[in-house]
Symmetry: C2
Subunit: 348 residues, 2 copies
Amino acid sequence: ITIALLPGDGIGPEVVAQAVKVVDAVAKKFGHEISYQEALVGAAAIDVHGDPYPEETHRICQAADAVLFGAIGDPKYDNNPKAKVRPEEGLLRMRKSLGLFANVRPTFTFPSLIHKSPLKLERVEGTDFVFFRELTSGIYFGEPRGRNEQGTKAFDTNVYTKEEIARLARMGFEAAQKRRKHLTCVDKANVLATSRLWRETVQELAPEYPDVEVAYEFVDAVAMRLIQWPKAYDVLITENLFGDILTDEASVISGSMGLMPSASLGAEVKLFEPIHGSYPQAAGKNIANPLATVLSAAMLLEYAFGAMEEAEAIKAVVNKSLEAGVVTEDIADQGQAHSTSAVGDWLA
Amino acid sequence: ITIALLPGDGIGPEVVAQAVKVVDAVAKKFGHEISYQEALVGAAAIDVHGDPYPEETHRICQAADAVLFGAIGDPKYDNNPKAKVRPEEGLLRMRKSLGLFANVRPTFTFPSLIHKSPLKLERVEGTDFVFFRELTSGIYFGEPRGRNEQGTKAFDTNVYTKEEIARLARMGFEAAQKRRKHLTCVDKANVLATSRLWRETVQELAPEYPDVEVAYEFVDAVAMRLIQWPKAYDVLITENLFGDILTDEASVISGSMGLMPSASLGAEVKLFEPIHGSYPQAAGKNIANPLATVLSAAMLLEYAFGAMEEAEAIKAVVNKSLEAGVVTEDIADQGQAHSTSAVGDWLA
Ligand SMILES: CC(C)[C@H](C(=O)O)[C@@H](O)C(=O)O
Ligand SMILES: CC(C)[C@H](C(=O)O)[C@@H](O)C(=O)O
C-alpha cells in the first residue's frame, strides 16, 4: 500500500517525519509493506512550482491509498492582502478536488494532560465529542467572490445545496448511532438562508434515525456552551466556516491541542492531518509536538485500511510516551522537554 | 430627557423593569427628570402588529435620546425554517434603520464572581478587553440571499465596503488609544475576499494611530486564544458574524455572562442592551438576572448623556449587591437566590 505524504509548510515536514518513523515501526512489527510518495503543497509548492497544489501533487494523492498531510501556511503571505496566490488555496483545492467533504475532528481528554486545560478540571473531565465539519462548500468556495472594479467593496458568497448538507448530516447521524446517540446541528438559522436549509434538511433526515436525539443550536450559543459544558456534546454537524471556528475553539479545551488528529472523508482516498497549524515560529527548531500527526497516522490506519490493531498499537505507545514524560516542550514539565525527533525515535 | 424602552421577548420585560427602577432612583437622587416611551419589538411585536419592528417603534426610538433594549427571540420561530417573519428580523432592521453600526461589548471580571468562570483563575484574572463588532453590514444584510426556485439550494452574501470597515475600525483605534494601545483585527483573510478588504483597510488606517500596536489574527485562532490567553487582548475589531460568535464566547470566560452590558453606537440615538439573550425557559418566572440590563442602563447614562457620576453610582450599587449576595439564582450561593424583582428593589 502507498501513503501520499504532504508535509506542507512550517513544522509540517518535522512532524510528518516522526509519523513516518512510527508507521514504519508498526508496519515492520505487523509484517506490512508500506511505501510513501512525497509531494509538495502550500507555500513549499509555491516556492518550487508557483502553485500551492500542483497537478503532480494531485496525481500522487489520487494514486495513493491514503494521504498524510502536515500543515499549511506561511506568514509572508498573511499580511499581503494583494498576494496573487496563497498557500491556503492549495489546501482548499486539494480538499475540493479530492472530494473530501467531511472533516472529522474529535475532542477528547488525556488523563495525563488534562491539567494543561485552561478549563477547570470538573468542567472538562470526561469530555468526548466529535465535530463533522462540511469541508468543500459554503463560503470557502461560493461564487461570486472578489471586489468591485474600484476595489472599494468586497464580497463572498455562502452557498449550500440540500445534497451537500444531507451527505454530511448522514455521516453525523451514523456516527451518533455508534456513540451516545446525540446529534447537534449548529447553524445561524435566525439570520442565514443557508442555515435554514441546513436545519430543514436535518429535520427531514431525522426520522430515518429514530434512535438519535437531535438538537438545533445557534453557532453563537455553541461557542459559549463548548466552554461551559463541553461534556454535554456528542456529535456536532456544521457548515465549513462555523466548523473552522468551533473546532479550533474545541481543540484547546482538552489541554491536548498538540495531540488532536483529524480525518477528511468523503471519497475513496482519505486524508489525515493534525488539527494544529504550520506554527512557523517553531519551524526547523526540532521542538514541535509530533503527537497529533502520529495519532493522525493511527486514524489513517484505522479509517483507510481498517487496521485496528496497528492503530491501537500507536495509540498505546503515545499514551506510554505521555506517562513516561517523553514529550516536547509544549506539554513537558519544566526542564524535561524532548526534541521532536527524539519523541519520534522513542515512539518508533 | 426621554429613554425609549424596548423590553422585547422572553425575560426582556422583567430585566428592563428592574433597570427602570434603578434609573429612577438615580434620577431622583441627582435631581433629573426622565421619561420613558415603551415600544414593542421582536416576537412581542409580531404577536400584536405582525411586524417585529413596527413603524411606531422606529418613530419612538428616533424621537428618544437613547434606547434601552431587553432581548429578542422566541423558540416557536426557531425550528420553523419556513416561518414568514422572524423576531430577529426586527432586531436587524432596528440596528440598520437606526444606523447603529458598532456594537461595543466589554469583557471584564468581577472579583466576587470570578470563581464562576469555567476557566482557571490564573488564566482569567485581570481579563479586560472590548470587542467592536460591525453591526449593520456583512452576511447579516448582504444581497442576494435566499433560495433557488426548487428550494434545493440556499445562498447568503457577505459584503463590506471600505467605508463600512473604516468607520468601525476608527472607533476601535480611538478606544485603543484610551486603553492599553493594542488593537487586534480579527478576520479570515486567508480565505475570504471581504476579510482581505478588512485587513487592507486597517493597514491603511494604522499610520494615523502610531501609538497603537496592531495585530492581525485569524478568527479560528482567536476562538482558541480567547480561552487560552484572554488577558492578551485589549481592543478587538471584527465583522458582524465573527463578532456574533466571538463576543458570545468571550462573555462566558469571565464567569459574569449575566452581568455583561453592551452598547450599539454610530448614530445620534444610541442603544444599550444586555449581552444575554431572551432565555425563554426563564421568562415570567422572576428568576432572570437583571444586572446586565442594569449595567447597560449605566452605560446608557455614561455614553448617551455623559452622566458619569450617575453611572458610577449604579456600578457601585451593583458591586454592593454582589458583595451582599443579593443576586439571582444563576450566581447565588446554594439556597441564597433572590428573585429578579427583589434584586431590582434592593438596588433601587
Ligand atoms: C488554513 C485554513 C485555510 C484552514 C481552514 O480555514 O479550513 C485551517 O484553518 C483549517 O481549519 O484546516
Ligand atoms: C438574535 C440574533 C439575530 C443576534 C445576532 O446574531 O446579532 C444576537 O445573537 C446578538 O448577538 O445580538
